[in-house]
């Protein structure tokens, strides 16, 4: 083939340009640590990278949701702990004052304590979270579920949150720890308390044997304590489930991060070695370009 000077210079320029552009790409990949900057850089890796990035953002959201559910559940658990203590105190009072060694004045003192406990329990039953939700108000949650008299005005729904395809009950059913859902005579905790207080004050003059009248409430109180314990257990199970889901998310996060790094990050070792090759090629191209001029017939004329 007849090679003209123009061809030689054009080839030299093309060679240098090619190496320069590859060098720039590699430099960019090495300094940024990212192999993919644009959707067209490696179309086969684009969907994987986008999917994993999105998965990581979703995992973060789910973690936030689980934390918020966990927070509500822990709050419920601690409130129910206090409720249990107070209800057990009521059992103690009922047991203590049922004894005939106590006179009406002593029993009236007991009644005062019961009244205070009732107030505390109403406050606990109206516990409100930082984001304005009554823990025991049910689904509608329009206002405080209990009035001062301990009458429930909420509904029996519960707040369920979706985490991906799973559902978590972030609260217990409205009023559940305090209301008897059938069985146990249908009395709420507060109506039992009211009845206990009435018995302690001997409010019904037709009652002759005050001791048994007081102790008869122990059965109902036990039903309440048992129900609260069961509710706490359920809350505990749900918290366990939340923990397990968080563990699951953490491992999903790890594997997504790994996959993402596989497709998206620069393989430093191979990039650096390719950069060396490209630079060597560039040096060689420059050397030969500078020699194009030194060998032609003119040098010999």
């Amino acid at each position: 083939m007849r090679i003209t000077q123009q061809t030689m210079y054009a080839r030299a320029m093309a060679g240098i340009n090619r190496s320069r552009s590859r060098e720039a790409t590699l430099n960019q990949q090495i300094t940024s640590g990212e192999r993919l900057e644009k959707v067209g850089d490696d179309p086969s890796a684009t969907p994987t990278s986008l999917r994993q990035q999105s998965a990581l953002r979703q995992i973060e959201t789910h973690e936030g949701t689980l934390n918020s559910a966990n927070h509500m559940l822990a709050n419920t658990d601690s409130v129910l702990g206090q409720v249990t203590n107070l209800t057990q105190r009521l059992q103690e009072i009922a047991t203590k004052y049922a004894s005939d060694t106590y006179n009406a004045t002593d029993r009236a003192k007991g009644a005062d304590e019961v009244d205070q406990i009732r107030e505390q329990l109403v406050d606990l039953a109206n516990t409100k979270t930082a984001d304005g939700r009554y823990l025991f108000g049910g689904l509608g949650n329009a206002g405080a579920p209990y009035d001062d008299a301990g009458v429930f005005s909420g509904d029996t729904g519960k707040l369920t949150v979706s985490v991906g395809s799973s559902k978590i009950d972030a609260t217990v059913a409205g009023g559940q720890p305090f209301e008897d859902a059938g069985g146990g005579g249908g009395a709420s905790l507060f109506s039992t308390i009211d009845a206990l207080e009435a018995s302690l004050r001997h409010a019904d003059p037709t009652v002759t044997e005050q001791g048994p009248d007081i102790s008869r409430h122990l059965t109902q109180l036990k039903t309440h304590v048992d129900r609260i314990a069961t509710t706490r257990e359920d809350v505990g199970f749900t918290m366990n489930r939340v923990d397990n889901m968080k563990d699951g998310l953490a491992s999903a996060k790890l594997s997504s991060t790994e996959v993402l790094s596989d497709v998206q990050s620069t393989d430093m070792l191979s990039a650096a070695s390719e950069l060396t090759q490209v630079q060597t090629a560039l040096q060689a191209a420059m050397l030969t370009t500078s020699k194009i001029n030194s060998l032609n017939l003119m040098q010999f004329m």
Binding site: M1, R2, I3, T4, Q5, Q6, T7, A10, R11, A14, E34, L36, E37, K38, V39, G40, D41, D42, P43, T46, P47, L50, R51, Q53, S54, R57, Q58, E60, T61, H62, G64, T65, S68, A69, T129, D131, G132, R133, Y134, G137, G138, L139, G140, N141, A142, D155, G157, L159, T160, V161, S162, V163, G164, S165, A170, Q264, N296, L297, M298, M301
Partner: protein
């Protein structure tokens, strides 16, 4: 044969060598002129004359200058040039549009789509929390404005392409005007075709092929007719130029209009290759496609979210409003997508409850909104799948364009090398020729000297 005629033979040798040196010098001075083909002097042995019953040698005769022109190669080179310029211009436009999509860096629409569903999920976890409700409004607002930003960046790029279409048409008209003038000059010389003008005209046609793909028909008198490939609309016929014009179509995009016998023709869709073909392919195929896909997705996502939200009840138990407002059909939806202005600043109007009775605390609809993230929309894809589909297919198109630009460029380079090899100026060759003509000139000069001394000898005989 007389001694005087010997002098004549020597003189012819001198002028033939001079013609050789002249063509060599012309080649050397034009070695970097684009499109210049190396010339050589054509010499033949001069016609002998008959004397004493036989033919007498009559020296050498310069019959003209020629160069190595290969019409088929020129055609291929022009075609390849159109291909590679078109592919590189198209890839350039796609590359610009590619930087609109910042999704690979974890920002852009991908992130604001996830943030929207994340806000729905937080809203569902705390339906009465004003902060969570405001979070939904903010996320919905940035989701809409990211769609707007993608759409507006794509449309300003389209506007830029339209300006370049105007520019390319002007460049084409300027080139065809020069070609028609050169055709006129070339035709004026009859059968004696001026090589340098032909080279210049051919180079202009190659420049023209960088703007758009053309067909060329060369006539015996050296004149070349140029027409648009595909539509056959004439650009130059002999010394007449047919200008292209631009118009505007219903979408507000520039069209290209050619003149031909029997009226004007819109040739936009038949244009192939070159800057003009590349611009139009990028605009009408790639940008239009990704724009339509974004519109469809914006429309589908907004419709799906609106349908769920409107079925819900807000904090005071009133039926939900549409969360987004946009166009009535998918066309232009991405650019028109907005957070419903009635919701702006009114987080209490977000409808998270399934019934009016359960109004403030119920999160059923909020959960449904969050679950839309994994729900197939009207196009049978989840919002995330739809977006990733759009971005991936765009990325593939951009990558394909780049690969094609590289491949066609190397095809063009190899044809350029063939052209150079056949017609270009080689310094070594010219140097060799220079020595050759120097030697032949010196030898011819010696012939003249010898003839002169022979003549002197002859004159001496008479003395």
């Amino acid at each position: 044969m007389s001694i005087i005629s010997l002098l004549g033979v020597g003189a012819k040798g001198l002028s033939a060598s001079q013609a050789g040196v002249r063509s060599t010098s012309q080649n050397i001075t034009n070695m970097n002129t684009a499109g210049y083909r190396a010339q050589s002097a054509d010499v033949v042995a001069a016609s002998p004359y008959s004397q004493h019953g036989f033919y007498q040698a009559n020296g050498v005769q310069v019959v003209g200058y020629s160069h190595n022109a290969n019409a088929a190669l020129d055609d291929s080179l022009r075609g390849a040039t159109s291909d590679s310029t078109g592919a590189s211009v198209r890839s350039g436009v796609l590359d610009r549009a590619e930087s609109v999509f910042t999704d690979m860096k974890g920002t852009g629409l991908s992130s604001s789509l996830d943030n929207l569903f994340s806000a729905f999920e937080s809203f569902a976890a705390a339906p009465q929390d004003t902060i969570a409700r405001n979070g939904v409004l903010n996320a919905a607002d940035s989701f809409a404005s990211d769609f707007n930003s993608y759409a507006s960046q794509l449309s300003s790029l389209t506007a830029e392409v339209n300006e370049q279409v105007d520019g390319a048409v002007e460049e084409i008209n300027s080139l065809t005007s020069q070609i028609s003038e050169l055709n006129d000059e070339i035709a004026g010389n009859g059968s004696n075709v001026p090589l340098d003008l032909v080279d210049r005209r051919d180079q202009l046609m190659k420049d023209l092929s960088e703007k758009v793909e053309i067909d060329v028909i060369t006539h015996d008198n050296g004149v070349a007719d140029v027409s648009l490939k595909g539509s056959g609309v004439p650009l130059v016929i002999s010394d007449t130029q047919y200008k292209l014009e631009t118009g505007t179509n219903a979408d507000g995009n520039k069209t290209v209009i050619g003149h031909r016998h029997g009226g004007d023709a819109d040739v936009t869709e038949s244009l192939r290759g070159g800057k003009l073909g590349g611009l139009i392919a990028a605009r009408d195929t790639d940008l239009a496609e990704v724009g339509d896909q974004l519109d469809e997705m914006a429309f589908n996502v907004a419709s799906a979210i609106n349908a769920v939200h409107e079925a819900g009840f807000d904090q005071s138990g009133t039926a939900g409003l549409p969360m987004f407002t946009t166009t009535a059909t998918a066309e232009g939806a991405a650019g028109a997508l907005r957070l419903n202005s009635a919701l702006e600043g009114n987080p209490q109007l977000l409808a998270g409850a399934a019934t009016a009775a359960d109004a403030p605390g119920d999160n059923t609809v909020a959960n449904q909104l969050a679950e839309l993230s994994d729900t197939k929309m009207a196009d049978g894809k989840t919002p995330g799948e739809a977006l990733r589909g759009i971005l991936t297919s765009y990325g593939e198109a951009a990558n394909r364009a780049e690969v094609r630009a590289t491949a066609t460029a190397s095809a063009t380079t190899s044809l350029e090398e063939t052209w150079q090899s056949q017609s270009g100026v080689s310094v070594d060759e010219e140097m060799t020729n220079l020595m050759k003509y120097q030697t032949s000139y010196q030898a011819a000069a010696r012939v003249v000297t010898i003839a002169d001394s022979l003549l002197e000898e002859t004159i001496g005989l008479v003395r």
